[in-house]
């Protein structure tokens, strides 16, 4: 679908991949609503892009519903939804430090998997009421972010990998559920990208991972992620698929 003039709801839109996509979409004429727990940061970027900012937790059912209503009233009901909100922890299943905290596991699943599902279900419900945009009957597109970690399973990433594999697993049934309404669902699995989420990673680990990236031998940039999101919005044949954008990295057992 043509994106100019449409509204996008971007969770985690204040920074990282979400912000990268917001910049690319905004440059293509999309009105961006940035939903983030960090409202100050979201406001800064929204002001720069001429969009709006909303402070909301993605797992908050009534909160997200109210946020979608607010976006619909101010910018129009979003036809583009990007679920970029996500958190990570690095804890091993068991070891000298004890068993993996169940609370930490649940927290990651709640934000990454349940939060993504929550926003998708409520945004899709709002989209269904919209008239189709084109002769295909297209109403909108939902782009979810998984991770190469979902498939490659590096050490200490059991919670993150499980949550992102859940996002991967939702892609096809969600695409099939929403196909009768002309709504597509596509998942992106980024490799290593320059984001605040990655900023917590120790430099020694970063130095050790660069040699394992085939090409280009660097971390991805949020604008490159954003370019793929734009392609997904614009290419109607992309549906029910997860796309790795990772410079061909596969994480082996040596990534300890």
């Amino acid at each position: 679908m043509k994106v100019a003039g449409l509204t996008a709801l971007i969770t985690g839109g204040a920074s990282g991949l979400g912000a990268g996509a917001a910049r690319v979409l905004s440059a293509a004429g999309v009105r961006c609503a940035l939903l983030d727990r960090n409202l100050d940061l979201a406001r800064e970027l929204a002001a720069e892009l001429g969009g709006i900012a909303l402070g909301c937790d993605v797992v908050d059912g009534p909160g997200v519903a109210a946020a979608i209503e607010e976006v619909s009233a101010k910018l129009g009901t979003p036809r583009i939804v990007l679920n970029a909100a996500g958190i990570d922890v690095a804890i091993r299943t068991a070891g000298p430090k004890g068993a993996h905290s169940l609370e930490e596991f649940e927290r990651v699943i709640r934000v990454n998997l349940i939060g993504t599902f929550n926003v998708a279900r409520l945004a899709a419900q709002a989209m269904i009421a919209l008239p189709p945009l084109n002769e295909d009957g297209e109403r909108g597109v939902i782009v979810n972010i998984a991770s190469v970690v979902a498939q490659d399973g590096p050490i200490g990433q059991v919670a993150y990998a499980a949550s992102k594999a859940g996002v991967q697993g939702m892609c096809l049934p969600m695409a099939r559920d929403l196909a009768p309404h002309g709504i597509r669902v596509v998942t992106v699995a980024p490799g290593m990208f320059e984001t605040p989420l990655a900023a917590g990673i120790p430099q020694a680990w970063i130095d050790s991972i660069i040699p394992t990236i085939p090409f280009p031998k660097r971390w991805g940039r949020p604008l490159e992620f954003g370019a793929l999101v734009r392609q997904i919005c614009e290419n109607p044949m992309l549906n029910g698929e997860m796309i790795r954008i990772d410079a061909a990295i596969r994480m082996g057992i040596d990534r300890a």
Binding site: P214, P216, K217, E224, F225, A227, M237, D246, R250
Partner: protein, 256 residues
Amino acid sequence: MEINNHIAIVTGGASGLGAATVRMLAEKGARVAVLDINENLARQIADEIGGIAVPVDVANDSSVAAALATVRSRLGIARIVVNAAGTGIGRKITSSKGPHPLESFKRVVDINLTGTFDVCRLAATDMLGLTPVTADGERGVFVNVASIFGFDGPVGNTAYAASKAGVIGMTLPMARDLAPYGIRVVTICPGVFDTPLARAETGDAGFQRILDLVPFPKRAGKPSEFAQMACHIVENSMMNGEVIRLDAAMRMGLMI
């Protein structure tokens, strides 16, 4: 990598997915060599876009070498190579007509798999001598065309599915082989597209029946949508070693 001013080779460029890619690459400023077994059709497209037509039988090694030599001398060394040449046959491994002929199996594998490999190995060797065009050290990119048949395996398609699964399987090792030289490899798996090959395979009635199984959009893909994906892959340097289904969420069950 940018497309503008670079030299591109598209095999099977005279019709279907290849022809649409030829047109879009030319629109974006590439100088395109249309390689096809149908020289007359290739010339028509080449004339239309101001490129060159080069006859090739991708199943014939000396023909491939000669075609690449022609491109080298007339345009220069290509940095963009799209392998869209392909063929198919519909035949069960055994039936009342007898066993699947071995010759036709070999023919499909020769064209779709070995032909793709042959073009890649020779074109990549030429690329090694080029200077990089980006700060990443990027020299070029291969976009190979597989098929969702390579994953989904519909009945009566052992040869086609085997050949396309081979193209899928080559993607990662080829990307890893060529990463040190700044050359990327990405594969697209089209679903049902409106091409002469698809129409010939299924007949008009069969084509319609297959479209009933497509979730959304409920139609055959347009070759220009394939071209859009191919061009995005060329332009997005983080895309490497990945196989992308472009299929409107279609998965082929036992019924076709």
